[in-house]
């Protein structure tokens, strides 16, 4: 996979393409869609967000229409304009082993529309954590690889085993890339309210940098760095430690023009 520029819009941050209202497609290498699960998900009750100057905690809970409705939307032409404007990465997940397989099976006939599939193995807002049991994970990775004939990316977090050992497994199972990292479980106290969710934003940068560095030293996988990238310098740092592309996430909510600035820096 070659992304020009090597900039990806992070899954969930850019929804289903809405940020193309504010960013020129030529500055985006690939746009990752919000994670689609097997069953439709309403997501978590509000409040779903709380922000400070250097982090955001979200408990969206993977709100999405489910794979069957998504396929109906695809067939109806709802996303045709989006596909014409940018390269799209499909992101998917399930609430258990079988659901990951079912989404892959249902989406296999449509894979040519996408430049890659990203398998979200690390959402902190759902109960199922596929990274906690390496034997099952290996079985899942192998099964999904057999079902899909496309550039396959595993989105890994740092909660579970060491990210580099999981990445080695991803490579062993014939996958092509990893996105490192996802949000991390976190909690915010706001007066009497406690908000639990996944933390993202600049606060993640040193953790994500370490993850990219470790995985680069142990694998040849294509690495999309994700976590706290908020400036041209941040992007440079991630490329220095071995990223092939950078994913722009939470910073979009502060300043969408950052994508253009990072893109210009790398052209």
């Amino acid at each position: 996979m070659e992304l020009k520029p090597p900039i990806v819009i992070a899954s969930g941050i850019g929804g289903m393409g809405e940020y193309l209202k504010l960013i020129e497609p030529k500055f985006i290498g690939a746009y990752t869609l919000k994670t689609i699960t097997f069953k439709p998900k309403k997501g978590n009750p509000p409040p779903r967000l709380i922000a400070t100057e250097n982090y955001l905690i979200n408990s969206i809970g993977l709100e999405n229409p489910g794979v069957e409705n998504f396929i109906e939307q695809l067939k109806s032409g709802q996303y045709d304009e989006l596909f014409e404007r940018v390269k799209i990465i499909f992101s998917f997940a399930g609430d258990n082993f079988e659901e990951y397989e079912q989404v892959a099976e249902k989406m296999a006939p449509f894979q040519n529309k996408f430049i890659a599939f990203e398998c979200n193995l690390s959402c902190p807002n759902v109960h199922f954590n596929p990274l906690s049991d390496l034997t099952t994970l290996k079985r899942l990775l192998s099964s999904l690889r057999r079902k899909l004939d496309i550039f396959l990316i595993a989105k890994l977090g740092i909660e579970g085993a060491f990210v580099e050992s999981i990445a080695k497994l991803v490579e062993l199972c014939g996958w092509d890339g990893v996105t490192l990292i996802n949000t991390i479980r976190a909690l915010h106290v706001d007066g009497e309210r406690i908000i639990k969710g996944g933390v993202s934003g600049p606060i993640l940068k040193p953790i994500a940098l370490r993850a990219v560095h470790e995985v680069r030293s142990k694998t040849k996988l294509y690495i999309i760095a994700s976590g706290g990238i908020a400036s041209e310098k941040d992007a440079e740092d991630f490329f220095k430690v071995g990223a092939n592309a950078v994913s722009v996430g939470t910073i979009l909510y502060k300043d969408p023009s950052i994508v253009e600035r990072i893109a210009k820096n790398f052209s």
Partner: protein
Amino acid sequence: MENFSLTRDELIQLTSDSFLITFNEDLNFEPTQFIMIETPTSIVRKPFGLGRWYGKLAIGVQVIGPGTKYIIEQRYLKAHGPCGKGFTPPSGKGAVIATPACLAIVFDMHRRFLCDVFIGSLEKLKIEVSFKTVLGDEEFVALLKSLKAYDWFFVVGSDQMEKVSYNLLKDKGQVFVSLNEYMACGVGACRGCAIETKHGLKHLCVDGPALRGEEVWN
């Protein structure tokens, strides 16, 4: 929808904590649409309702934390918008009920819809306005109870004030409220501003912020 910068023209103090800011630039918008303003105090932009003050583009700001404090101190602001769905009132006579920080929004609605406007404030306004203004919670409740012969009401302020107003007005006409939920993107991408309504999940930044009160409360 676009990214733009705004240059402050006037900063008008309305109460001890509420301000009206007019801008040199103009923007086409529909009533209740809003912009997302960048502040250094938050990693997400913050929503502010669009309005006008004697023809000029304006927003009202109630200072409640570091972001709103920053906004009233700046000459230039970065923002995107207009966000949200515009509000079109039903036919008939309407009344808009608002807090001082929403003065620009309701000034614009008054000119567009020729509706009556009532301001509920905790303290006396520092400027003269031609709208009826009531002071304090008791007077506010008395005002709502006294309103008659309207086909629709639009309430904009805090969620609590909107709920109280809805309960007092729901049998007198159709009640619309402009709801507040935490927002990160303002464009329908993050799914952060979802609320449960009688008609399922709605995202206030694209389906709102104005909804019928009956969709949200019994």
